[in-house]
């Protein structure tokens, strides 16, 4: 991580990696959608609605992962004062919030036919909703100060405090008797999901991951470019004055 904390080196790396990540995202999402919509069986209990899972589960994974990225970026910004750490955290938050929203909405669409309700207050759903609020709080705090540096530091501390929610989300289905089903892929005794469903799921997850990486790089590059423009403008004004 320290190696890429240098913005110039990051610019070179991201310029080279961005097209690959974007291409991999398109390939994986295309193949994943094909397999999940046409080449995987309908569930014997859930019928066709099981296909919502191919969007819902990767979105949920990425919602957690993006929060980890925000928190890790915040730690590196606060502890090592890496200029890039805060930029990465700032850039990852809206993407993570988007994934969380997708996760909540698809879960709700699935819940109506399966559980008979758009929303139930079980531990998994509630903790993911809290995650969504944490993302919103992080972004609100970023923009709440006249001094962007102060906003960045305050939001970094909040992001680190919010990490306590991640284990609650992960293990909420084991700690409480929830309506939400327990984990079936990342298990100590191997996945309990059939390979015909696991393949499209993993393809979609890889697609979501590459999409996240590509958009994150793009957003970080945009932020760095914006900062550079600001610095050049300031320099130009000083020359005039």
């Amino acid at each position: 991580m320290h190696r890429f904390a240098n913005p110039a080196r990051f610019q070179r790396f991201s310029a080279a990696a961005l097209p690959w990540f974007a291409g991999a995202a398109i390939l994986c999402l295309g193949a994943g959608l094909y397999f999940s919509l046409f080449r995987s069986p309908a569930d014997y209990q859930q019928g066709e609605t099981v296909r919502i899972m191919y969007v819902h589960v990767p979105a949920a994974w990425m919602a957690l992962f993006a929060y980890l990225v925000v928190a890790a970026g915040s730690v590196s910004a606060l502890v090592w004062k890496h200029p890039l750490g805060e930029v990465v955290a700032r850039a990852a938050a809206p993407i993570g919030a988007g994934f969380t929203l997708v996760c909540l909405v698809t879960g709700s669409l699935w819940g109506k036919p399966m559980w008979g309700a758009w929303w139930v207050w079980d531990a998994r759903l509630t903790s993911v909703l809290v995650l969504f609020f944490l993302y919103l709080g992080y972004m609100a705090l970023l923009g709440a100060f006249d001094d962007p540096v102060r906003g960045g530091r305050a939001a970094s501390i909040l992001a680190i405090v919010g990490v306590v929610n991640l284990p609650v989300i992960k293990w909420s289905v084991d700690w409480w008797n929830t309506l939400h089903q327990p984990a079936s892929v990342a298990r100590m005794d191997g996945p309990t999901i059939h390979p015909s469903m696991l393949l499209p799921l993993l393809l979609m997850a890889a697609g979501f991951g590459f999409y996240f990486a590509a958009v994150l790089l793009l957003r970080v590059r945009a932020e760095l470019a914006a900062r550079r423009i600001r610095a050049l403008r300031l320099a130009a004004m000083e020359v005039e004055a």
Binding site: T126, A140, L141, A144, R150, A154, L158, V161, V164
Partner: protein, 222 residues
């Protein structure tokens, strides 16, 4: 180290008492807000008894959060916070002392007023001891978590509203177990497991929240 911290605690208490009315306002809000519910859902005793624990907990939560944005605000504005942080005492200790004063002025009065609300809202009598114990364990946790938020929003625009947005999601676990303790007691089940979880959350908050709040205070003054 204890001396200076006690001095901060006593100073905050003296300030609150001499300004007067702060604690009374919080309690008044607590009682008034909870008394709105019978108007909202209707005065039917069975319904009220069913929701009493939740109503008391939610209004207690909001009452604690109501004043928490002022925890560091006055000291920040007149510069005494900067003076405090340059003292040879850990910043986390200062946060604990200020939180203790805040809890004595806002949390404790709420607990004392709870029996009245329990009567208003028809809370079954066997739920009251669990309610008081849960509030005694839960409200200090809320103050400590709120202190992080209060330190984070120092100098922010619309700090009060923002504080609620930051802290309320983190307060959900306290609410869940606080209500669960009372519900268990009312149903004739042991409230102890839920109270133990509340106690664990208090200890975790006591250990971690002052560090986070101290970090937030330091960067607010940089």
């Amino acid at each position: 180290m204890i001396g200076p911290l006690r001095a901060i605690l006593l100073r905050d208490l003296r300030l609150a008492l001499r300004q007067g009315g702060d604690a009374a306002t919080v309690v008044l809000f607590f009682v008034l807000a909870a008394s709105l519910f019978p108007f909202g859902v209707g005065p039917e005793p069975n319904l009220l008894a069913r929701i009493a624990a939740g109503v008391i907990w939610v209004t207690a939560l909001l009452s604690v959060m109501l004043g928490i944005d002022r925890l560091f605000l006055a000291d920040h504005e007149d510069g005494s916070l900067e003076g405090l942080l340059t003292q040879p005492v850990p910043a986390a200790g200062i946060v604990v002392a200020k939180c203790a004063a805040q809890w004595l002025m806002s949390g404790l009065p709420l607990i004392l007023a709870t029996p009245i609300l329990a009567v208003f809202l028809q809370l079954p009598a066997e739920g009251l001891p669990a309610m008081l114990a849960a509030l005694a364990l839960g409200t200090p946790t809320l103050v400590l978590v709120g202190a992080i938020g209060a330190a984070l929003v120092l100098g922010a625009r619309r700090g009060g509203v923002l504080l609620a947005l930051l802290v309320l999601p983190l307060a959900v676990p306290v609410l869940v177990f606080g209500v669960a303790a009372v519900d268990a007691a009312v149903a004739g089940l042991p409230a102890r497991p839920h109270l133990l979880v509340l106690g664990a959350m208090l200890l975790a908050a006591l250990a971690l929240a002052p560090i986070a709040a101290a970090a937030a205070l330091r960067q607010a003054l940089e």
